[in-house]
Symmetry: C2
Subunit: 551 residues, 2 copies
């Protein structure tokens, strides 16, 4: 498979149409059957593959940044009598286990971003179902704030994965049915085994959708709903958007260069070093100046680059098992931006930049590679960049300077931003998660806000794992990386997925922990993916042949 | 493999010694190397298999019932310089996927029962680690209320599964490290990759244990701790225990008969019907009379039989995919017992009966078979037996009587017991879980307490899934069971594991949902279980050969 590219734009969309009319945008799914990302499958009936979802996520991000006046997004299908048939089965049956898992992760992240769009950005999603919404199609609808189903005796919602495909509705479906829609568990059980799904009033009564509407009443009703949701939005009426111009990227065999992020891959060790660079030029004086910089506003450009870098590494560099996180630049500059993001957090544009950063740090948390943060001389882990240190599985700081290197010693500086602005999927800040057992350490950390802490003090405060000096650093880091490279990648994935998310569970952690883990298991089971399994047999007319043993 | 029997007793133990001295019992692990349950492996260094754990659970249950005066249990090793080496690796490498998963489920249930023993029964566990506590050995210690480690420069705790075996510490270890001990996540990461583990003061500082003690001080210190914990226990000082005499059981090819439970298996459909029978004789007048009945006290005998029945079906009947839950008897009799259990709930004996029922219903929730409750004429789903209806994936009631059958019509009667006495792993009652989206339905259900509701009213109140009359019943039930039998067992396992536990997450749901699901995935991966995988290569001197791709 050639490199999967997560960058696109409306002018390149194959599968979606985006129209804006006042406070309402309409995002219409119109999948091009012949526009599959790879392999030999046709995307019939608005079924999707990763390429379709990449465009959806792009549209979502553009709606946030390029359309400040859009308060409501109507998510619908441009096809007649079909909303969306879910993930394409032939694609799934051809895809590798790793691709399936990565595909589900990205689609889940996109649904989550869509779901919180109203809450965190004042942009609400209304889903209009005009036909069959099956499997991933209904799961897409489930992410919306409100679901309207056309009552024409045919439009329906269904999760037929278990009966038809022997896999789970894995894009959040089961979790949203029980925990968001709060469907009664026995009705949920019935629903999830009904190939034909549920329609009409029963779908409302079972809490699967919010309302039904006659086909002739659909458009005026959507208008009413859009007006209602728009009235509750704090997005501005008259503001110009920020155009998300293409990221400048350069790909080499073992490197990727963005303006603010570089990736360097060591193929012998299967390690990628991701370095964040801080520009030397000044911080905008006010939000207007930041708006004038547009997509060039550093925290935005950095967030987009980092997001693309993470997605690229996940999809295209499966053998890279360790990500080394580094930073380079002046901590004062970072803290200046950090203060700017905080003091203007109420402005729609800066709010979206903060939302992007939160989303991107969550992607990092959910990346199934070992994360190691290294604070070396010349680094700038301060404010929102300090989140790297806190997101890492292990973090290290260099004590003092290297011989012959006069860059400033490594320091760590916390700001208010580290205490709740960028929460993890579990709803806690990374510091709260870190210090679940030692709440006093959070108070101690708070007392350091704005103060640069050196390596020894950071270790003492429990903010990093270990500090080493010039004598030990190279050996300790090398040994750790070599050791990590010697472990089973699967064992590490399971270990990290458990250790990273202590404390409370949310719908997000349930989706990525419980639901995804079960789906990953099923994606390995012969009953689903074996030669006689349901995914392979689907559409052939043959019945799958199941091993009847319960595990 | 011959039938795995979950019934045993101290006189038959191969691996444990149980000694009682005043308010303290000592439970000493002394695994017989040659006492493995199956296959060709030696249980060296206090490593364990399912057989060892069956004895541990038996001891736990006897300590609750037979030793009311025991307020503290010291869990220790009878072997020199070794506490416990965890699950036996050779056993794991020989075991089928299904056996591994079932083994982990039972050991997890035993650790959970041990963990809540202090809280729900006033019997606290102190763990004394005198040597290496590796993997499952440390996980066993983690379930205790307090962990003491001998400080002799050699005794240590470790979770070396990932580096040595490419699997997770799957018996609650990761969850208890992050959520019970609240170990900092980066230190947890380091700890879980250190083959040799951590000892001495570092183990305290990292929150892995509670204290270290010099070897010479161990015995007096344990005495001190036992006295402290005993002072906080409300178990009686002078009371006679109830001897858990052997269950009367009879096994046939397609049936098992207990005094109060029968299992009938339909091999064509792979369905087992589990029927609970209610005795006609009177309810004891007071607790003394119940104590005089001893193990014959019906709710105790029923709980033990049902527990054994569930464990038997899980371990020995893997092809049985559906459990039909039925009851037969006089609802008034059940409600009489229900009232007896409630009004005497503060008595140590009745408290333990209630604890056993709660534990057994949790086992049912966690049983990866479809659960269908059928309320037919002559049934008695009332009070604590109504929990069957609420635990089922689907529940049905028969409207009216069958032709030529004059047994009373099916009714459902709730009692106070259904509103919190027997909570699920998620900490909610089954009714609260059921009505997460409709809290008013809980109030409506409360208003029916003590009133027998017929099938139509139960359906209307949302207390059952569907009600059918004589004309439809047989066909509807048959079609549903046949349909269920046609689905992939793995898909159903994943579906049920997600739909049954809506709402809040607890350490228990995390262990069975997140941790177990990841472990099950890893137990399918070639890096762990393939011919070149770590489990197969362990002990051979050869290094496992890993696929380096991250998923």
């Amino acid at each position: 498979m050639s490199r999967i590219d997560f960058q696109t734009g409306p002018e390149k969309y194959h599968h979606w149409r985006l129209e804006v009319d006042g406070h309402t945008a309409t995002l219409s799914m119109d999948v091009d059957e012949n526009g599959g990302l790879f392999g030999d499958y046709e995307l019939k009936l608005n079924s999707y593959d990763l390429g379709v979802d990449i465009e959806l996520y792009d549209a979502l991000e553009r709606l946030r940044f390029e359309h400040p006046g859009v308060k409501v997004v109507v998510l619908r299908s441009a096809k007649d009598r079909v909303f969306c048939a879910g993930a394409n089965i032939k694609m799934l049956s051809q895809a590798s286990h790793a691709h399936k898992v990565n595909f589900c992760k990205f689609t889940n992240e996109t649904r989550n971003a869509l779901e919180v769009s109203g809450k965190e950005g004042g942009q609400h999603y209304i889903c209009a179902i005009n036909g069959t919404a099956a499997g991933g199609g209904y799961e897409l609808a489930l992410a919306a704030d409100y679901i309207v189903l056309v009552d024409d005796g045919s439009a329906s919602v269904s999760l037929p994965e278990v009966p038809l495909l022997a896999v789970l509705p894995g894009t959040g479906g089961l979790t949203r049915v029980t925990d968001k829609r709060k469907v009664r568990r026995d009705l949920a059980d019935v629903f999830c085994t009904l190939e034909e799904g549920v329609r009409g009033d029963k779908a409302v009564k079972w809490r699967l959708i919010d309302e039904t509407v006659a086909a002739t009443r659909l458009e005026p009703r959507l208008q009413e709903l859009a007006d209602q949701f728009a009235a509750g939005s704090d997005r501005p009426d008259d503001a110009s958007g920020v155009s998300l111009t293409p990221l400048k990227r350069e790909f080499g065999d073992d490197l990727v260069r963005y303006e603010d992020v570089t990736i360097d891959i060591d193929r012998a060790l299967n390690v990628a070093t991701v370095t964040v660079h801080v520009p030397a030029q000044g911080i905008p004086g006010d939000v207007d100046a930041a708006l004038a910089q547009g997509a060039g506003f550093w925290p935005l450009r950095l967030g987009r680059s980092l997001e693309d870098a993470i997605l690229h590494l996940r999809a295209n560099e499966p053998e890279v098992g360790v990500l080394i996180l580094k930073s380079a630049g002046d901590p004062a500059q970072v803290l200046g931006y950090d203060e700017f993001l905080r003091s203007n957090a109420g402005h729609w544009f800066i709010r979206e930049v903060n939302n992007l950063w939160r989303r991107t740090m969550k992607r990092l948390d959910l990346t199934s590679r070992t994360l190691i943060a290294l604070g070396e001389p010349g680094s700038c882990f301060a404010g929102f960049l300090a989140e790297f240190m806190l997101a890492a599985d292990r973090s290290f700081m260099f004590i003092g300077q290297r011989e012959g290197d006069n860059r400033p010693v490594a320091e760590l500086t916390l700001s208010d931003s580290n205490f709740g602005a960028y929460v993890m999927s579990n709803g806690l800040s990374r510091l709260e998660t870190r210090f679940l057992g030692e709440p006093k350490s959070i108070d101690a950390a708070k007392a350091t806000i704005g103060t640069a802490i050196d390596a020894a003090a950071a270790e003492e405060a429990g903010l990093i794992t270990f500090a080493y000096d010039d004598i030990d650093w190279d050996d300790e880091i090398r040994i750790m990386i070599e050791e990590r490279a010697s472990f089973s990648p699967d064992g590490l994935t399971g270990l990290e997925a458990n250790l990273r998310f202590a404390g409370p569970e949310t719908m997000e952690t349930k989706i990525f922990g419980r639901l995804t883990a079960w789906q990953n298991w099923i994606f390995q089971r012969p009953n689903a993916v074996g030669p006689e399994g349901a995914l392979r047999q689907y559409g052939t007319g043959a019945r799958p042949d199941y091993d009847r043993g319960r595990v």
